[in-house]
């Protein structure tokens, strides 16, 4: 396998709605920024990988073909990836394979998502219809008719974890919400910058027990892109390449009844383990400078501390209590604001997280910069109770 570098990055703002852009126009904006950042012309790209989650959101099946056309990349090979919330991370993994295998030298990995074009006319809001579109990804025969949502699936896991280990508590989850909303105040692309108190979070309305309003990420529209290149190309065109030194992936049984338990996300643990092995990391808290974890819900961020081996199983809540994951802590988590603060533009999310870690490794993260950041982790998960998991270790 060849070494793979990230030589260009770009992202649109993450917003509740981009009323003035279609999905392919958003994709264009992110791609243009990434090409400019890499200092290359689009024709230098050999292939593309598109992370686009929900066809209903785009109001288009096979939306990848229309993105490819709009970006002017006709006749170059491309593939679309759709792995639920982990779509962005999964797209990065395929892009990595394109270059590491020697098949291509330069690959565009781009994630994009609209979602708020769906609409419930009666309630005059998008969200219930967004959730309805998502529910088509639940098993149509047995799960969809039960009215389960993405949030309730993850809530079931968090409740099971709490029943077994006594955490995450509501206060611990609220602290994660406060942290991520606050971190977002320093991120110019973030959707939900907010200065909240723990009490604000505890007082917010219940969505799905134990998640209150501020424990959830919001649905977001946006596009993010990175340009991957082989070592030879990276060294000739880039003076600040970021290397993908670790990559791990695992996909669990989508029907949770086929798993040994639901209080831990085994696919996440395996993805992290493989990524660390590849990157030679034995003590993540000591060796990583920052981590962007998939915090679709506060409770799952806490579970992710365990799944990424920042602590032993069952002790995730400690890391928010003792400050380890705060901006000034030993291993800051979600300096971007994460999904809760920055937003969850599903197909783009894993790529936005990668963009964020690159910003820190390149020393360009402004007010939220982790000083002297050399190594960072991206965790991208999704699907029913964390079916898909991808972890990447990035280094400068």
């Amino acid at each position: 396998m060849r070494d793979v570098a990230i030589v260009g990055i770009g992202t649109t703002k993450f917003k509740s709605r981009w009323l003035d852009k279609t999905y392919y126009e958003l994709a264009f904006d992110a791609a243009k920024m990434a090409f400019e950042d890499a200092g290359i012309d689009k024709d230098r790209v050999d292939s593309a990988v598109y992370g686009i989650y929900n066809d209903f959101f785009q109001r288009q099946y096979q939306p990848d073909a229309f993105v490819h056309d709009y970006l002017g990349l006709g006749l170059k090979p491309m593939v679309r990836v759709n792995s639920g919330g982990a779509t962005g991370g999964a797209a990065l993994r395929i892009g990595y394979q394109e270059v590491a295998s020697g098949l291509q030298d330069v690959c565009l990995v781009l994630g994009v998502e609209k979602c708020a074009d769906t609409y419930n006319y009666e309630l005059q809001m998008a969200t219930p219809e967004v959730l309805r579109a998502i529910l088509y990804t639940a098993d149509m025969t047995y799960d969809n008719p039960a009215g389960r949502t993405a949030a309730s699936g993850f809530a079931l896991a968090v409740v099971a974890h709490r029943d077994k280990y006594g955490n995450p508590t509501e206060e611990q989850m609220a602290k994660v919400s406060v942290k991520n909303h606050f971190n977002a105040t320093k991120n110019p692309i973030a959707q939900s910058p907010k200065v909240l108190t723990v009490q604000d979070v505890l007082d917010s309305r219940m969505i799905v027990e134990p998640f209150k309003f501020y424990d959830n990420c919001l649905y977001t529209e946006g596009a993010s892109a990175v340009i991957l290149a082989s070592k030879k190309v990276a060294e000739s065109i880039s003076d600040n390449p970021v290397w993908i030194s670790g990559l791990g992936a695992s996909v669990d049984y989508v029907m949770p009844g086929n798993r040994p338990n639901i209080y831990t996300f085994e696919s996440s643990r395996l993805a992290a383990k493989k990524a660390y092995e590849m990157a030679g990391i034995t003590n993540p808290v000591e060796e990583l400078d920052l981590a962007e974890l998939h915090d679709a819900f506060t409770g799952t961020e806490i579970m992710a501390y365990e799944d990424c081996f920042f602590c032993e199983e069952g002790r995730g809540g400690d890391l928010i209590d003792d400050g380890t994951v705060l901006p000034e802590g030993r291993l800051p988590v979600n300096l971007s604001g994460g999904l809760i603060g920055c937003g969850h533009a599903v197909g783009a999310t894993g790529i936005m997280q990668t963009y964020e870690v690159c910003k820190h490794l390149r020393g360009e993260a402004g007010e939220r910069q982790r000083p002297n950041a050399r190594k960072g982790l991206v965790q991208s998960i999704g699907g029913t109770l964390c079916t898909w998991s991808i972890c990447l270790v990035l280094e400068r």
């Binding site: 006319y121 219809e129 025969t141 008719p145 009215g147 219940m206 969505i207 799905v208």
Partner: protein
């Protein structure tokens, strides 16, 4: 558009998409009466829809038993003995065809949460309990939304029993679960 043109537009969109005219008027009157600039983003109603005559394939008997006989069946692997509900035609471990096994219709809540917010299709039912139930005699979990007067009555470990609806359509919702008391 003049007022008559607008009304024709509302009628057409209502018939095509089933959206009440007053909702359409609420959302589009400003646009249709020319208040927005030519370059402002233009929104339109739309809907994605596909109609099926779906086959349950190897799981057909499960749904026919449910509809005709008010009975729940699991699928048992003859090799490892695991019983699946939701049923499956083959064991994913042994790759052997499974055999039907009648279940008693009681079970235990393995995980549950209360939904206070949900999709357009279910939002009028909140709050409701969303749970994984392990049916007695099976080794897997079935997703269900419980019909209970008091959502606090349902907890992990709660024993439940199957209740069959009067009108059964041949869908998993032909059965729901109630605490066994």
């Amino acid at each position: 558009m003049n007022s008559a043109e607008r009304e024709a537009w509302y009628r057409y969109q209502h018939e095509k998409y089933g959206i009440p005219v007053e909702h359409l008027r609420r959302e589009f009157e400003e646009e249709l009466s020319g208040k927005n600039s030519m370059d402002a983003p233009l929104e339109i109603p739309d809907k994605m829809e596909v109609v099926f005559k779906y086959s349950y394939g190897g799981q057909s008997r499960f749904f026919r038993e449910l509809r005709e006989n008010k009975a729940l069946y699991g699928a048992e692997c003859p090799e490892c003995g695991k019983v699946f509900c939701p049923p499956r035609s083959h064991c994913h471990t042994c790759y052997q065809p499974t055999q039907w096994k009648k279940l008693v219709g009681t079970g235990t809540i393995e995980a549950c949460t209360v939904q206070h917010y949900t999709t357009s299709s279910f939002i009028k039912k909140v709050p409701f309990v969303c749970a994984y139930v392990k049916l007695d005699g099976t080794d897997s979990l079935l997703m269900t939304n419980m019909e209970v007067d008091d959502v606090a009555k349902v907890k992990v470990g709660t024993k439940v029993k199957a209740v069959y609806r009067e009108l059964r359509l041949g869908a998993i919702t032909d059965v729901y679960f109630k605490p066994l008391d």
